[in-house]
Assembly symmetry: C2
Homo-oligomer: 332 residues x 2
Amino acid sequence: MNKSINLKKRPVGTPTLSDFEFVESDVNPSISDGQLLLEAKYISVDPYLRGRMSDAKSYVPPFKLDEPISSGVVAEVIETKNDKFKKGDFVSGLLQWKEKQISTGEGLQKIDKSKAPLSAYLGIVGMTGLTAFLGLHEIGKPKKGETLVVSGAAGAVGSVVGQIGKILGLNVIGIAGTDEKIDMLKSEFGFDHGINYKTTKDMKAAIKEAAPNGVDIYFDNVGGPISDAVLFNINQFARIIICGAISVYNKTEIPMAVAVQPFLVKNSALMQGFIVSNYADKFPVAMKQLATWLGEGKLKYKETVVEGFENTPQAFLDMMDGKNKGKMIVKV
Amino acid sequence: MNKSINLKKRPVGTPTLSDFEFVESDVNPSISDGQLLLEAKYISVDPYLRGRMSDAKSYVPPFKLDEPISSGVVAEVIETKNDKFKKGDFVSGLLQWKEKQISTGEGLQKIDKSKAPLSAYLGIVGMTGLTAFLGLHEIGKPKKGETLVVSGAAGAVGSVVGQIGKILGLNVIGIAGTDEKIDMLKSEFGFDHGINYKTTKDMKAAIKEAAPNGVDIYFDNVGGPISDAVLFNINQFARIIICGAISVYNKTEIPMAVAVQPFLVKNSALMQGFIVSNYADKFPVAMKQLATWLGEGKLKYKETVVEGFENTPQAFLDMMDGKNKGKMIVKV
């Protein structure tokens, strides 16, 4: 049977396995002219999916109840009645959590297995890399010698942001939640400093110590008290990229924080929400640069690969809980 | 005797008269070659001065204790040994709170009494107008038909922001603290809607009612709960100009607020601190436009003029307490 994973109910607070439901259907749906039959190979689980599970107003519409969840997926074309794709092609795109599914090919990108491993097209040369590259460049506008702080630094996006920061000649400080992650940031990804927010009592002071000249760019993946502590250390004309707020996604009450307005006005600083899809016109240039750096060995990436389609919901929960290192991916 | 007003001690929380001290000195200081002797005519009291009275890190250095406070002042040249200025010239610039003072002329602008009243050079065709015009244009990037919310709308900057918004074809909503101010916003300054935050129980709902299509631009002079309420109503790609945070300037504890990060990321919105002095290269163009609009009768302005140099500290306290309508000015 062909399995799919539906959203059964909207999570309240932290999602649980009971919010998901496995549904079975025909093994081989039949395709019409212009269509493709795809078999999922790799599925990406990402923090932003939590937002789509709620029905609050957001930049992407909420998932519908009792319908399959969708996210970034790498799939193989196993049948085709569309001239643009042939059997055996690999594609990536926003697809459903289904073992097999029909597509018109719209919005899918053919990907080249020989240039990078298939799973990398969900990460370093896919949305993850693009988010890091474009967020840092378009809002952060980095200049050599400046200081960059990255929260969620051991996550998929964060680890790439820090590496690009080093390529551009920045002083890079990563914030993460275990000593093992901090070691990895410094030894594998070349970060200058790492701060374990779970064992550090005074984050404000720790950031000041790592950034004695102040913080020029803050790439924020988490929000919450970590971001409050960074605020106290920003410089004149600081740029803060709000890429995510994973610390509050599961909150059921409206989260409070240190008021940012006095810091922004005192420092003529900028804070901007970043959604990679708004920068689609810049994808080709950015992907080329990322592929070049990857080929030159200047960019490394981590994946946490979970095996088995049936483990996709658990992989999502683990990712929300910070159990991944780098990009969390399900190998179908 | 020639009087000056010194900062005697740094205010804790709300400033009081005892934080200021009157000091007397020689009636006519003697001037050297290249210098001018100035007599103050009008003194501007502004919210940002509160920040300079503290010794916290800010965009302008703190005032020194036991030295005169300085702010925008219009003065007359009563003696000159500087070829660029003649006796009887009027100038505006950042000057000390002194009845008479010596200047080298540096940083002073000659002003033309025939084009606008002297006091207007501290307001509508001075820093106030420039702050409104440049904040709205440089960060707000207004487009005809968009919705603009202004807090502190009956204040000096706010009332100009709203009027420029109307000239540019925006739907303009002003927030202020008395019904009298709300009436003035609508009847005199042409705002489309006014909200009295002191008598409105549900600010979030009131803003939604006045802005059924959501808020595209928020010109924020106040911070605090008013700004929290606006956040819930922002649109995709909203721009928030943080021009001031008068609601927190007197706070002694770090103020908390609704966390802005989730709103910014959901809406790809931007929030930026605005300090007019960073845009000095745009002053000539902006002043020309403001003067043109003023001449055409498209811009009106309000002043609250307090008479007497000795009332300057009280005028500052009253302005911090919202007792002014429009620009608060002391006539020396």
